[in-house]
């Protein structure tokens, strides 16, 4: 693998904890985590195990990022409409 990926992998290895939450537990808590971020709270400090899981699990992280960004669009009240989104598929 490329060196930067190898470095990321090393970092992943060294930041491994004895106990980590499962994907199901992360899914269960991730909406709360996102909501804390939008209420100006330190979500990572409040829910360190979720933050840790998101760091190590690409599948859960991608879902978290989409959730966060969609929530952001709602916050700005400029969320694309259903029709806009359909038009963007081509």
């Amino acid at each position: 693998m490329k060196k930067d990926r190898f470095e990321r992998w090393l970092n992943d290895i060294y930041t491994t904890q004895e106990d980590e939450i499962s994907c199901t537990e992360c899914f269960d808590q991730v909406s709360h985590y996102v909501e804390l971020e939008f209420s100006s709270q330190d979500a990572a400090a409040a829910m360190p195990q979720v933050q840790q899981h998101l760091q190590h699990c690409r599948a859960c992280r991608e879902e978290y990022e989409a959730l966060h960004d969609l929530r952001q669009l709602d916050e700005e009240a400029k969320g694309a409409s259903l029709e806009d989104l359909k038009d963007s598929i081509h």
Binding site: K3, E7, I13, Y14, T16, S31, E35, L82
Partner: protein
């Protein structure tokens, strides 16, 4: 899209029966379809070769599956987020799984899992670029050797298989789950155990975190 219901109203309306419930379900379905389309839009390259109609149909299917999942889990909503944020995650989960499946369809994972123990005999884990000094190079060769040793001697066959697929070949978890007929929790656990053994192996051989990672950064 303006969400006109409070969390309490969502919970009430979705359980109400009659027209109130039907209207709430229709609104919920639109919210889920929007989340599915949003997730697809971020990953459109995964859908190469599909027509617009086929993609939209897949988004409808995701929304429908997510709707069923949301209704099944409604009693578990604790109100620790906006209801819509909680509901979105079901649609995003379905949509991103669908996108990954499209991207990886036709790829044989069997061909990627050359996880015989001797497959690692000569393996270098990075492409070897950027080693400036002999000393550092020797240290990095040692690091390679320890990683090889842990993979060959300490990991179980399943842990090795998941490591090869997900770390060395960047196969998404959901595809590995499908390939193994397993579930996300079990695959995550296999990878977690592999990471734990690698960490303990590196520390036991004197490769502390800071100096090991720093040795790569110095090469820049």
């Amino acid at each position: 899209m303006i969400d006109t219901r409070s969390n309490q109203q969502w919970q009430h309306d979705l359980n109400a029966g009659g027209d109130v419930q039907a209207s709430a379900i229709a609104d919920l379905r639109n919210i889920l379809l929007r989340a599915a389309l949003y997730s697809f839009q971020r990953n459109l390259t995964d859908f190469q070769g599909l027509s617009r109609e086929e993609i939209l149909q897949q988004a409808e299917d995701c929304a429908q599956d997510a709707l069923i999942a949301v209704m099944d889990h409604l009693a578990e909503f604790r109100g620790d987020s906006k209801f819509t944020t909680w509901a979105y995650k079901f649609a995003i989960n379905m949509a991103l799984m669908t996108a990954r499946r499209e991207r990886w369809k036709g790829v044989s994972l069997d061909e990627l899992t050359d996880n015989r123990e001797d497959a690692f005999d000569e393996k270098e884990f990075w492409d070897g670029s950027g080693t400036n000094t002999l000393e550092r190079s020797a240290m990095q060769q040692d690091l390679n050797r320890v990683i090889r040793q842990v993979i060959q001697e300490d990991l179980t066959e399943k842990q090795r298989q998941v490591l090869v697929l997900m770390v060395f070949n960047e196969v998404p978890m959901d595809e590995v789950v499908r390939h193994l007929g397993s579930n996300r929790n079990s695959v995550y656990k296999l990878l977690h155990d592999a990471r734990r053994k690698l960490k303990n192996g590196l520390l036991a051989h004197g490769f502390g975190m800071e100096e090991t990672i720093a040795s790569f950064e110095m090469d820049r």
